[in-house]
Symmetry: C2
Subunit: 283 residues, 2 copies
Amino acid sequence: MAHDEEMRIKSIGGGSLLIAWQLKDKKVLIVGGGEVASQRVESILTADAFITVLSPESGLHPRTKRFINLRSDRVTHHARPFSGQEELDGAEMVLTALDDNDLSRSIVEMCRARRIPVNAADIPDLCDFYFGAQIRDGPLQIVISTNGNGPRMASLIRTKLQKGLSGREGEAITKIGQLRNKLKERAPGVGGQLGKERMKWMTAMCNEWAIEDFILLDEGSMDKVLDEGWEKNKRVPSLNEVGVRRPQTSWITTFILPALPTATVFVAGALAATLLLTHHPRP
Amino acid sequence: MAHDEEMRIKSIGGGSLLIAWQLKDKKVLIVGGGEVASQRVESILTADAFITVLSPESGLHPRTKRFINLRSDRVTHHARPFSGQEELDGAEMVLTALDDNDLSRSIVEMCRARRIPVNAADIPDLCDFYFGAQIRDGPLQIVISTNGNGPRMASLIRTKLQKGLSGREGEAITKIGQLRNKLKERAPGVGGQLGKERMKWMTAMCNEWAIEDFILLDEGSMDKVLDEGWEKNKRVPSLNEVGVRRPQTSWITTFILPALPTATVFVAGALAATLLLTHHPRP
């Protein structure tokens, strides 16, 4: 093993475990209703949980109110302060967003005793987990954590990262998920040799096709990808073989437009020389 | 409220809750020792946990062996298969990476009964959480999840995102964290009005300084940032005021080099015109 790799392994540490927690149809309790609580409601709604917001009416931020009104399918509001540990019954996750640190602290202790994952806003020492800055595009989710070193920085880095994305990655991933499901219908079963072959073929597809190419697929062409690819010795078919064409970009966009600035400068140079050479005063 | 915002709120859902789980000095059990298990060991080491790997010697991937040998400070190996639920005693998280799906399934059930968060590799339905593709740069951690729609895609998107980063963000975030700690020493306390003012000032600093500027700070200049900034009506000081200079870039790099290609094309145009106008055949 290379010395570098040995050094790298020895120095691993100092971070968090970044994970995608599954909350579909689970119960989450949010204690507090202010601005931070409104952000928590949005994060938890993203994960399809059922949310109880516990906060006196006067403590509700307009954004929290909006979620309560518009998402009554998922968000229930109890207009009262936290009253005791029976509030935690049935909760699979608890988030506090309170100005009262002592109350936060005691709620965290109750959660620990019941082994309920808990986050207390602004008190990192008490948290089982932190939130980060998020990017969401359909099935694609990205989270940026600075491990408590600066939330503003996380959001600046989010802006930086967003510039590198086309905004169509989510759509492409949706199509890849559909293709994968179709493949699992043809070659069903969990794990084992077949599972490995499925994964290997999907990886080859993702490596050889451009991300944007997957967006072009529909039900019919997905079947063709499986017929011409998976079924034929697990090869990767070309776009042509599955009857899909990339949208034609005209020769104007491909060749003329990119050359325009250069051409303009060239012409400017030529004009300048022409003026100099032809408009000199005659004797 | 705008109609768009109402529509947006109504459509939130379909994702996971991406979080930075805290595992410092906690006990994590990994059942299995193959390639996937080796990736799990690395992820968990990142979060400074204590790891028990449960796997017969024959099931160990070379990478898993490397972690066991080089990180005996954190990784303990028991060379035997999973023997029963007493293996879970003390574990705060359990990960299975096994070919035997029935065993995975029964371990997951035992974890559920004890409310231990659990991930079973390749069986998404059984997981409390998923892993994703990761970027790590000191305190900066980024995770990319496709919500189970394609791990290869997540790693392609990681490559895309990495191109947008300078590789110095981690260093800058470390400095920001240090500055924040110094600020907390001067203005201690959790939450409340002071907490809000601290956060507001740190946000202003991050907004007005470039990310790279923070890298230039040392102990002394950090104190000056607090003296000239926080102490003076919570303003944002300039680099100059805290005695720090950006590395000088010469006027050649700043002005001449970027203009070279344009200048070359201009001269080419001028030359072409000159040749045409002066070398025409004389009658």
